[in-house]
Symmetry: C2
Subunit: 329 residues, 2 copies
């Protein structure tokens, strides 16, 4: 089978790993590869790793690099999408890195860069849970809480490119302090980081939980999504209590956003939603509907878990790159 034309590589850059997909013009995944990122590495080292990963995944797909139309990357931080510059990516320790220009020099194909949550939301809209909708909100719950907003079928960026920061919506004015310095942001109440903080505080106060043992067994120093999943499977009462509270906050967050934007669909993505799926989203949905101002047709607004899992970001990056190549750049 030969593929000509619009084959692309999509890359999702995380704080700990790189994931690359070769994607056909029909949005089939032709090959997948991933590699760990070393946060101690300088940007040049990471960019060389990305170039190597592209070479590998293209080879795995059985095509030549010259058949590639573009490489498109979702990066964890603030991005100047016009120039492909990563302004600030705290998880990578990056400031003002000209990612597109540098990678383009190594690979000799056009490189596009966007924010990791934006590409994830575009992926779920174009190819995942939100297919066929015109107005969509994506909320990604992980270390933080990020969001993206599709309006008229396209990514909405706002007047300063600062739209859809759902994680910093204040919903509990006197709540816990957030990484941003304010109090009571959704991220400070319902992210994985917030849940871990609550679990640790409860254990310190003497509450019983299987979580420390699970973390030790699996050699984790963080309460990852897989630890959360395992603790829930074992009916750990502390984990159940903490996640229920986070789900209530997330339900209110969803309702606040829906009461403002009134989208057709809200997609809940990110690591926890990916692992737990419907069982994570169901309590969020029920709380959200209760907080909708207009309740008689509340259920016309779908609230769904993402369906693309790990591939949402890389697929969305490819979709965005296609739009940019099609339009005047």
């Amino acid at each position: 089978m030969t593929h000509t034309g619009n084959i692309m590589v999509g890359i999702d850059m995380g704080g700990t790993s790189l994931r690359a997909l070769v994607v056909s013009p029909e949005n089939e995944i032709l090959a997948v590869d991933k590699t760990a990122t070393n946060p101690a590495q300088k940007p040049e080292g990471v960019i060389a790793d990305i170039a190597g990963l592209v070479e590998d995944v293209v080879r795995a797909a059985g095509i030549t690099r010259s058949a590639l139309a573009a490489v498109s990357i979702g990066a964890p931080g603030a991005v100047d999408t016009e120039h492909g510059v990563v302004y600030h990516a705290p998880n990578l320790g990056w400031k003002k890195v000209a990612l597109a220009a540098k990678l383009q020099k190594l690979l000799h194909v056009p490189v596009f860069v966007d924010n990791d949550v934006n590409v994830g939301v575009v992926g779920e809209h174009a190819l995942g849970a939100g297919q066929g909708t015109s107005e969509l909100i994506g909320i990604f719950v992980g270390t933080g809480i990020g969001g993206g907003f599709i309006s008229g079928g396209k990514l909405y960026r706002g007047s300063r490119g600062a739209a859809a920061e759902v994680g910093h919506m204040v919903i509990q004015l006197d709540g816990p302090v957030c990484g941003c310095g304010n109090h009571g942001c959704a991220e400070a109440l319902a992210s994985r980081t917030a849940m871990e903080r609550d679990v640790r505080a409860a254990i310190k106060k003497g509450e019983k939980s299987i979580i420390p043992k699970l973390m030790e067994e699996r050699g984790k120093d963080r309460m990852t999504s897989s630890i959360i999943q395992r603790a829930l499977k074992k009916h750990d009462p502390l984990m159940q209590k903490v996640i229920s509270r986070a789900q209530k906050y997330l339900g209110i967050l969803v309702a606040n956003v829906v009461n403002l934007i009134d989208p057709e669909c809200v997609v809940i993505g990110g690591g926890i939603a990916e692992r737990l799926g419907e069982s994570f989203v169901e309590p969020i949905r029920e709380t959200a509907y209760k907080y909708f101002l207009r309740r008689h047709d509340a259920r016309r607004v779908k609230i769904l878990p993402g369906t693309l899992g790990d591939n949402a970001g890389a697929l969305g990056a490819v979709v965005l790159a296609r739009q940019r190549l099609a339009g005047a750049r």
Copy 2:
């Protein structure tokens, strides 16, 4: 001076009064008239009053009714704009009133109906504080808190026509109960009704205030915007405390909305903003900027008091009617 063509009457329906403007094709106000509404009246009586008001204001402008291109109304409640039906207007005691059809029968001109906050926001966008912007949020503070959202220069209605309900954004999860049944909505914290509740509770607890005396002198049983203005002029400490708290909540509300929509401009309208202007908006603005996630260019987002005062709604209704007559209805 003769006016031909696109002359329209815009009407702002309040719970207690009707205000009508005759507006030229160049958006000059040619005549103003108003009349009280009697809430005990049936819808038919109010609609007859509206027809009479239109006759009067058209006569005052020195034109004939046949020169009118349309009458356009902002109504306080949920409106089916397609059919000109007021679904539910609690302040008027209306349910499913075919306002457009009934008024059209009396006046023999096209009649358009939209929500009162929507028309106010369109007015401020087209002719007031938000002129020239493409993305704008209007927040109107009065008995309740309403909002409207301009996107791409046009009123954004959302997928169910339920967008921009800023008043029911939860910002203090365990806060006071709201008219909608939830707790801690912005409206339950910072509307005129919420401020009056807080003033009454403080007085009951023994706090000194000039407000009861002002209300008695002026024969008011509600803490109107004019009472608020007067109490502040007299440096009433309770009024200062209560309005400062409301301004803080409103600042957080503005920031929550900006962190999501990232507009070019936020216009604060409604009775209190109209009376107090910049002195009402300034503390809201300063709190809002502190809660913006992206602060380095925060001040690119303008936060302004409305400039059209009482005329915002009627003018906006005319602007919307022009758009609808120009497009395919």
